[in-house]
Amino acid sequence: MSTPVSVSLLVNGEPIDAFVLPRLNLADFLRENLKLTGTHIGCEHGVCGACTVRIDGEIVRSCLMLTVQAQGASVETIEGLSDSGEIADLQAAFRERNALQCGYCTPGMLMTAQDLLKHLPVPDRQAIREHLSGNYCRCTGYQAIVDAVEATARMRAERPA
């Protein structure tokens, strides 16, 4: 437990080499070692979804994963998705619709919403509600978030590929 081990991974496209304790979870690694504080921690037991990141294209709760398990993986956080412009339209829809209040759930929400839209381009409201059901939001009442995701889906569907 007390001996650091070496780990190499890609974070937002950037190669990272580090020595970490085997028990260090990925959320803490991102936040504390890399200062990528956009990945939030709400529960540390896999329930709230605030710590959602993308690993090799799939969304994962970074509080439930050890950093050493990310050896060789490509990790994408909210900062990476923002800078690449991949979710600029989704972020604009959230802004437009006030789909965030305190903003603490927002990075995880955006990650999860983007995941849904990649797998199911035009989801209905119930499908959106169900897909987001692993992400707590204590501020908004969810409706604005559902509206924003629905609007983004519609816009993407109308946009010529």
């Binding site: 504080t37 909210i78 209040q101 903003g103 603490y104 955006l110 987001l132 059901s133 908004t140």
Partner: protein
């Protein structure tokens, strides 16, 4: 939207061209949060910062016989282990009472328990280390010798002579009692049908998504303490920290940037936060405390642990003759500081029966101590209890006399032209709009069609219900809330507005932002009054060194109080700007206006001089101004309501849901709210405040409950076992407005933050009972879990 009052004769600032007031504009600075680049306290790191974790009592009530921390002290990375006795040298204890709540008593509370722990979760020692992980490792090596004491857990027996007294010096476990007797209840009830019921409310908590977090940084060289904290009331924190650390207020700075949810959870000051401030002073370095989720459940204030016996009298024609309540609530071992834990019970007494005409009202509220986590004010303090009792009784009365729930409300709600008036509990109402709101609600939900649908579905064994709940809401609190009781919690707020050298505007306000949109509403008001576009307005808040002194954001006061201060400050600055412009342009200030960032002629709107040019002259070439002109491009104004201690608002909610009588599950189908918060500054923000509030109320109605066992152990202190609403279970919520601006301010805004939470549970409970009517079952308990419903149906 319906406006209840005719516009004033003269055009006010609300009617200015290009006004942002009343318009949906996106909140400024959202990109920061959308990109994960917010600055929450849990993100903060300072040089030499250490982390504290608290060793917490596993017992609800225990004597601390000995603490052996030697092994832990020797661990690498451990900086210090501090007990309550050691910390006492730096910070004094406190007693959470207010003088206007007569008879309220509590015992001295320490930042870390000394000798005795009074709830499961009370800190008994602090471990400070270089990282949280090291501190947690060390904590496991501390051996505490406890002698378990009998725990007082059931509030129903807390006052029995056989129950131990938690604080011997207080004599008994009664923290506070209030009685009220208006009119002649006995006589009213003797001539009426009387219905009564016991209402039971589960204990729940806020579950802010970001747990409580604080970084305290004592700078010994400056003799100043900087506290970074997610708080709703920075100046209150400044005052209290200074008081108990023996500092002057000027030696304490409180900084509050982004806050990951508050809802009243973060308007209090907790013992572990006090301990963190003190540890920083003791150890002379920055100390960070971030509660983990289990700690949040055990130490964030709990709320609404009430049992309330209610009675209503009704005549066969539907006239309500009297209300009577006997409310009992348990607050844990201490009254919370500095706001006290008696405010909610007091509020319940104030609010029951509030929307209805009846002079006869009798109430008793008792607040008792228990060995459970502290209980205190959470969003919509007292409102959901009062509303559920009142509206539950009104529905029971309607059922008793065979009247439609809407009809009985129509016959008893205070008339919209009866204002100003007062309630039997002495609350003053300036202007409410119950009837207009109800009418609007019925039209939005198509009440008659819904009733027809319900009947048709019942024939097919599908059980849907409609629940209606009218409510009144306390907003814009004046000094009557805390100040008169001696608490140093400002009821006024201040805003300073200045024009910078390029013609942009900077406002410093004492209200805070937790996502409601305080920044936006301030910028909208200031931009409108000054004729400056919103992108050119920057708002600074959440910093006691850099904002005027004020109350902060709680009890729905941001827009009504902080917004009016912003309006008045902007008006003052506008006058200064026009005076200077008049001097420069050799005109009169009355002949000029500011529109779209330029000074224009008032009569024809012709551009005269850009604000940026005016600012350039004032700041860099004041020598060119006529003699005798001392330009002031900054103005500050403060505001607090004086005539009405609170701006009461009102609203009504309706719930449409289906009960599965086989499983006891409730499916929410649709929810409607009509609310009257006076002038609406940003319709989208108001609607989203209401929606968020509704969902918190729906959580209380269906899911949320802190479950204690008989030894005072909280058995569901994690997010997996304590249920909150998720997107999949929540319905769409439709919002409508009636607008009765308050005349206490030029802006006319009242609060909207409590409205959703105030009435949601009552609407749901009434809807469930409406659905279950064919089965003769009535439930007056929340949360309405499948177990509660199946029990009422006699199925389990």
């Amino acid at each position: 939207m319906m406006v209840t009052r005719a516009p004033a004769e003269t055009l006010s600032v609300l009617d200015r061209p290009n006004s942002y007031i009343g318009k949906t504009v996106p909140r400024p600075n959202l990109d920061r949060l959308l990109q994960g680049r917010g600055q929450y306290v849990s993100d903060l790191e300072l040089p030499r910062m250490a982390h504290v974790v608290f060793l917490r009592s596993p017992y609800a009530h225990a004597r601390i016989v000995a603490i052996d921390a030697d092994a832990a002290r020797r661990m690498s990375g451990v900086i210090s282990i501090v007990t309550g006795r050691e910390l006492e040298a730096v910070i004094t204890p406190w007693v959470g009472v207010l003088s206007h709540l007569k008879g309220l008593k509590s015992a001295p509370q320490h930042a870390i328990a000394i000798d005795r722990a009074c709830w499961q979760g009370e800190a008994v020692a602090a471990v400070v280390a270089t990282s949280r992980a090291v501190a947690e490792d060390a904590m496991e090596q501390i051996a505490v010798d406890y002698e378990e004491l009998e725990a007082v857990t059931d509030m129903r027996t807390a006052l029995d002579p056989a129950t131990p007294v938690i604080h011997a010096s207080l004599g008994d476990n009664l923290a506070f009692e209030r009685t009220l007797n208006a009119g002649d209840v006995d006589q009213a009830l003797s001539g009426s049908e009387v219905v009564e019921a016991d209402f039971v409310f589960g204990r729940h908590t806020g579950v802010t998504l970001e747990p409580r977090a604080v970084v305290a940084d004592w700078n010994a060289a400056e003799a100043r303490l900087t506290i970074y904290q997610g708080t709703q009331a920075p100046h209150m924190v400044q005052n209290i920290a200074a008081l108990h650390l023996g500092l002057r207020e000027a030696q304490v700075r409180v900084v509050c940037k982004d806050v990951g949810g508050s809802f009243g959870i973060k308007v209090h000051i907790y013992a572990d936060e006090m301990a963190t401030y003190a540890l920083s002073k003791l150890l002379r370095r920055p100390i960070k405390f971030v509660a983990d989720r289990v700690e949040s459940f055990n130490t964030d204030i709990h709320a609404r642990d009430h049992r309330c016996r209610g009675r209503i009298g009704v005549k066969p024609d539907g006239t309500i003759t009297a209300f009577e309540i006997d409310d009992l609530t348990g607050i844990g071992p201490y009254s919370m500081y500095p706001r006290t834990s008696a405010i909610e019970a007091n509020q319940v007494v104030n609010l029951v029966g509030g929307p209805y005409v009846t002079p006869n009202y009798r109430a008793r509220a008792r607040v008792v101590f228990q060995n459970k986590n502290v209980m205190c004010q959470y969003r919509a303090v007292g409102h959901p209890i009062a509303c559920s009792v009142t509206e539950g009784l009104v529905d029971l009365a309607a059922a008793k006399i065979g009247m439609d729930p809407v009809e009985i409300r129509r016959r008893n709600l205070i008339a919209d032209d009866a204002y100003p008036c007062a309630s039997p509990s002495g609350m003053k109402f300036e202007q409410l709009s119950h009837h207009a709101s109800l009418a609007k609600l019925l039209q939005m939900m198509d009440y008659d069609a819904l009733r027809a649908e319900q009947t048709a579905l019942r024939a097919r064994n599908i059980h849907r219900g409609i629940g209606i709940a009218s409510f009144i809401e306390v907003t814009n609190p004046s000094a009557a809330f805390y100040g008169v009781g001696g608490a140093k919690i400002s009821s006024q707020d201040g805003v300073a507005v200045r024009l910078d050298a390029q013609g942009s505007v900077i406002c410093q306000t004492s209200i805070t932002e937790q996502g409601q949109g305080s920044e936006s509403l301030t910028a909208q008001i200031v931009g409108s009054v000054l004729g400056v576009s919103m992108e050119r307005v920057r708002v600074i808040l959440g910093d006691t060194d850099n904002t005027p002194y004020g109350g902060g954001t709680w009890a729905s006061r941001g827009a009504g109080i902080g917004g009016e201060a912003a309006l008045q400050a902007a008006k003052a600055l506008r006058q200064n700007v026009l005076d200077i412009a008049a001097a420069i342009l050799q005109s009169t200030s009355g002949g000029l206006d500011i529109v779209n960032n330029s000074i224009v002629s008032a009569d024809d709107g012709a551009p005269r001089i850009e604000l940026s040019e005016l600012a350039r002259i004032v700041y860099f070439r004041p020598d060119t101004l006529p003699p005798g002109i001392q330009p002031e491009l900054m103005a500050t104004r403060h505001f607090v309501p004086r005539q009405y201690p609170f701006a009461f608002t009102n609203g009504v909610q309706a719930s449409w849901l289906e009960v599965d009588t086989e499983t006891g599950f409730v499916t929410l189908l649709k929810h409607w709210v009509v609310e009257d918060c006076g002038t609406i500054i940003n319709p989208q923000l108001v609607d989203e405040q209401i929606r968020g509030g509704v969902v918190q109320g729906l959580g209380a109605a269906l899911f949320e409950k802190c479950i204690y066992d008989e030894r005072g152990q909280l058995t569901n202190a994690n997010m997996a076992d304590y249920l909150v609403p998720m997107s999949g279970e929540m319905p769409d919520i439709e919002i409508g407005h009636v607008v009765s601006p308050t005349r206490e301010s030029e802006l006319g805004a009242k609060g909207a933050g409590e409205a959703g939470t105030a009435g949601a549970a009552a609407a749901v409970a009434n809807a469930v009972n409406d659905a279950l009517r064919p089965f003769g079952a009535t439930i007056t308990e929340i949360p309405l879990t499948p177990q509660v419903i199946l029990t009422a149906l006699g199925r389990i």
